[in-house]
């Protein structure tokens, strides 16, 4: 039972756990395919289908946008504006990564509406996202401030503060990923409690809770994750 965070099965009525779909053995190690993998695959398929449609629409794009082209341009312009206001002249370098992550986290968070367990309610999904942010911060600090600037930042007021600065740097990916994970998980748990404990009383009105926990909270957390990533990266780049 102690396999991992919330990877458990003895729950009774309330069910928000990650379940095993099937397991296989590779290199003598038993690996589980869980509901998180299945949900992430569904999100991936939705995004791929959307991307193919968008590609087809932009192939025959016209100057006066109509129909689906409008939607695609609206999304891209909105995300581009968000990046420009936060990162200024460096926006184009990080546009690919941050917009991709934004759309992925957003669709993951609101996939609770489709009856899936949101993939971002699994720490194994959010922690890699935090680690990618950490690597981006580190690489950009080395690239733009050189090693001397990096060491100067490490020993900020005095060299004796270096361990505290290291802890502060390492805490960034952990707090980023835990914030996203815990927010989505709390929404999932609340919905599971409502559906699991109230049973037949829970008809129609939980839609209001879905609007708050899935749509509002999910969108806010997506925005916050991307915003903090951009803030940290432009902080690492240094000059404005």
């Amino acid at each position: 039972m102690n396999q991992g965070l919330l990877l458990a099965a003895d729950s009774g009525n309330v069910d928000f756990f990650i379940h095993k779909v099937f397991s296989y053995t590779i290199f003598g190690q038993e690996v589980w395919i869980t509901t998180s993998h299945v949900c992430i695959l569904i999100v991936f398929l939705i995004l791929t289908a959307f991307a193919l449609c968008a590609n087809a629409a932009m192939k025959k794009a016209s100057d006066v946008p109509t129909g689906f082209q409008n939607v695609v341009e609206l999304i891209v312009e909105m995300l581009d504006n968000m990046l420009k206001t936060n990162m200024g002249s460096h926006a184009h370098q990080f546009a690919n990564y941050i917009e991709t992550v934004f759309i992925f986290i957003l669709v993951s968070n609101i996939s609770g509406l489709l009856g899936l367990r949101p993939p971002t309610a699994d720490y194994g999904v959010t922690f890699p996202l935090g680690v990618i942010t950490f690597v981006l911060i580190f690489v950009n600090k080395i690239r733009y401030q050189k090693v001397s600037g990096f060491l100067k930042g490490l020993c900020d007021p005095w060299p004796i503060w270096a361990p505290i600065n290291v802890i502060g740097d390492v805490a960034v990916p952990i707090s980023l990923s835990l914030r996203l994970f815990a927010n989505v998980l709390s929404g999932t748990v609340m919905m599971a409690l409502v559906y699991g404990l109230l049973k037949w009383i829970a008809v129609f009105w939980p839609a209001v809770l879905h609007v708050y926990f899935d749509l509002f909270s999910g969108a806010i957390q997506t925005y916050v994750f991307c915003m903090l990533t951009m803030t940290y990266i432009s902080d690492a780049i240094g000059e404005k």
Binding site: M1, F17, L178, R179, A182, N183, L185, Y223, L228
Partner: protein, 84 residues
């Protein structure tokens, strides 16, 4: 002294209840942030969108400590690290 599993589970449930008291702090903090944001919009209605996005960002960051309490409660209730 040896405790049985039921006793440990009961104490874990009490601990989980104590852990989510951490939610008080972020609640007060978010309320203060929202109040100041409302005052700022009242003084300068033109900056409404900027104030709102800054407020939401700050509130989401302030929420983190409460969520840590929630996580501890979750671990105590469902992963049961002490009872295994």
């Amino acid at each position: 002294m040896e405790f049985n599993r039921e006793f440990i589970l009961g104490c874990s449930a009490i601990g989980a209840g104590l852990a989510v008291i951490a939610g008080i702090g972020p609640g007060v903090g978010q309320g203060i942030a929202a109040g100041h944001a409302a005052a700022a919009v009242g003084r300068n209605p033109g900056a409404k969108s900027d104030v709102t996005s800054t407020m939401l960002l700050g509130q989401a960051v302030a929420e983190t400590t409460g969520l840590y309490g929630l996580l501890v409660a979750m671990l105590l209730m469902f992963v049961k690290p002490l009872a295994n």
